[in-house]
């Protein structure tokens, strides 16, 4: 077992940052804690590291209870968003820091060899005698990673590790982190607010909102089977329509109505449709559809993004391939018909989902 947290809660003044969080990071996996700012993701990571104490709940690392173990003896490697390198020490001294504090203390040759090994791993062999201020952001973060890995921690925790880097370096480091993990399989938990980053790097993603776990699972599964409206909206763009709009549209279509078997009619129900789950037709073909007008058409390389206005004034986003767009020779102002291929209906109280494949 890698990391197990149970019923964590944490309050800062009146603000409930973490509100009953339970999850497990299986040994050897790379897992992302994903959520908007204020969702409690960094607090959870810091509680696991021992940098902060939870108000209630427990933390287990590799099968042992660590709830009351001080940070120094938890054996976690921690990487901070802004690197937090020791600025008055060289790169070599930075990486050696954790090794020198191990008991029994390794001798000088062992330390030197391990530092060399890690600097090789992060491809900074030639920079050992430099100071952090002489390195670029990406290089500094690699040093921070080498420093965290040097004492062979039980688990690796990264707090928005790529948040301070520019886009290109960020992409490189993500790919590099994934490769590194594929080689050494260290149990790794990293915090991010970037959905794309979580999906690109992680084996599993834990989605957080308001200090609670909304859903956990492999990226594709979360995307296809979101458990809550929040997850649906947070993971990629989505059209939110209210049920009444959807049903009214059917009547106007006056051919085949959309037959959604919606239990009960009370409460705020909402229908979610992803832009790429909508199809556009020039003519009715007997399937249920909504008449609409193209308000805007934006070509985006191989794709095109359309904004359509339904009869009742609701705007919806549609994503088509460039190919399909050309086939239909669509232009701004054209009248078309929209067919939903996949709808998700959420019933607000209870938050359960019904998936309608059409």
């Amino acid at each position: 077992m890698g990391i197990l947290v149970r019923n964590l809660t944490k309050k800062y003044g009146d603000f409930q940052a973490v509100n009953g969080v339970t999850f497990e990071v299986p040994a050897g996996q790379l897992v992302a804690l994903l959520g908007p700012s204020g969702s409690g993701k960094s607090s959870i990571l810091r509680i696991i590291a021992g940098l902060e104490l939870a108000d209630t709940g427990s933390v287990e690392l590799t099968g042992e209870d660590a709830t009351h173990v001080p940070v120094q003896r938890r054996g976690v490697g921690f990487v901070f968003q802004h690197y937090a390198l020791f600025r008055h020490m060289t790169i070599r001294e930075n990486v050696a820091f954790g090794l020198e504090l191990r008991r029994p203390k390794p001798n000088k040759d062992e330390i030197r060899a391990r530092v060399d090994e890690l600097l090789g791993l992060v491809q900074l062999m030639g920079h050992a005698e430099r100071y952090p201020s002489q390195l670029s952001g990406g290089q500094r973060q690699r040093v921070a990673l080498a420093r965290a890995l040097a004492p062979k921690p039980k688990v690796l925790l990264l707090d928005e590790p790529f948040g301070a880097l520019d886009a290109k370096v960020r992409d490189e480091l993500r790919a590099w982190l994934r490769r590194l993990h594929d080689e050494d399989h260290m149990t790794t938990l990293f915090v991010t607010h970037d959905q794309q980053e979580a999906f690109e790097v992680a084996d599993q993603v834990i989605v957080l909102n308001h200090g609670k776990v909304e859903q956990m699972g492999p990226p594709q599964w979360l995307y296809e089977r979101p458990a809550t409206p929040f997850v649906t909206e947070f993971l990629g763009s989505v059209n939110v329509l209210n049920v009444e709009t959807v049903l009214t549209m059917d009547q106007h279509g006056d051919e085949v109505p959309l037959s959604l078997d919606l239990p009960g009619s009370e409460g705020g129900r909402a229908v979610y449709v992803r832009p790429h789950d909508l199809e556009v037709q020039r003519h009715r073909d007997g399937r249920p559809c909504w008449p609409a007008r193209i308000r805007r058409l934006t070509p985006l390389g191989g794709l095109a993004r359309l904004v359509l206005t339904l009869h009742d004034g609701t705007d919806i986003q549609v994503q088509l391939t460039r190919q399909r767009c050309l086939e239909l020779s669509l232009a701004q102002g054209d009248d078309v018909f929209v067919l939903p291929k996949d709808l998700k209906v959420f019933h607000q109280p209870g938050n359960f989902v019904e998936n309608y494949m059409i």
Binding site: V71, Q72, R74, A84, F97, S133, P151
Partner: protein, 276 residues
Amino acid sequence: MSRHGIPHNSWTSLSIRTGSLLYLAVMVILPLVALGVQAAEPGPWAFWNEFTNPFAWHALKLTFTTALAMVAINAITGTATAWVLVRYDFPGKGFMNALIDLPFAVPTVVTGIMLVALYGPTSTLGAIMGQSGFAVIYQVPGIILALLFVTYPFVIRSVQPVLYEMDRAEEEAAATLGADDWTIFWRVTLPTLWPAIVTGSALSFSRALGEFGSVVMVAGNRPLATKTGPMYIFGEIESGNRHGAMVVSVVLLTCSLGILIVLNRLQRRGDESHGR
């Protein structure tokens, strides 16, 4: 010719620059030169004789040793006070923070009187201390006490902002790597604070070299015992030995200036190595 912004009328800019340079020359450089010239005028031998005169030599030695003792105490207590002000929250913290600068506001002679009132032989505390052999006033410890009072804010005010802006993540990183509180302080926090502690200490040292008002009240002005450099200068002027006063002045001035220059250099080098 302006470095940025709207181009100025060159006559205006030229006259402003010349004016401020002239002002600096008249206000600061001319008096310095006058002192240097008159101290050197009787020749190097006369200078050397005044410098090595046992009364002058003792006064200078006393000034430096008391200043050093003060710095040793201030470096530690100042850093600790700054630490308390930045890292802890407690009722009355704002008030305490405001009080730090009080010694700058108190006229130095008044400082001397306050110390005499508290520790002087006529006060209760002073009498008890005198009887138990720990007399402070009219003794060397009194001088150190006065210097501590007048230089109190220096180290605190130079360490405080650095501590305040310091990235706590460095200390946290050290903790996750296994460092206990003491190790974190010695190996991570202190090296970051070090330049600020040195700056504050050097400034207070420089200030102490010239301290007169408070010291004259508490020292007792006993030659070869409690007479410091500035008191010696004053005394020599009073008794008509202008040259002797000037020689000691030049020595004190050179030290103060030296400290200023070295500090400036260090600061510039520090800025460069940190890429700021």
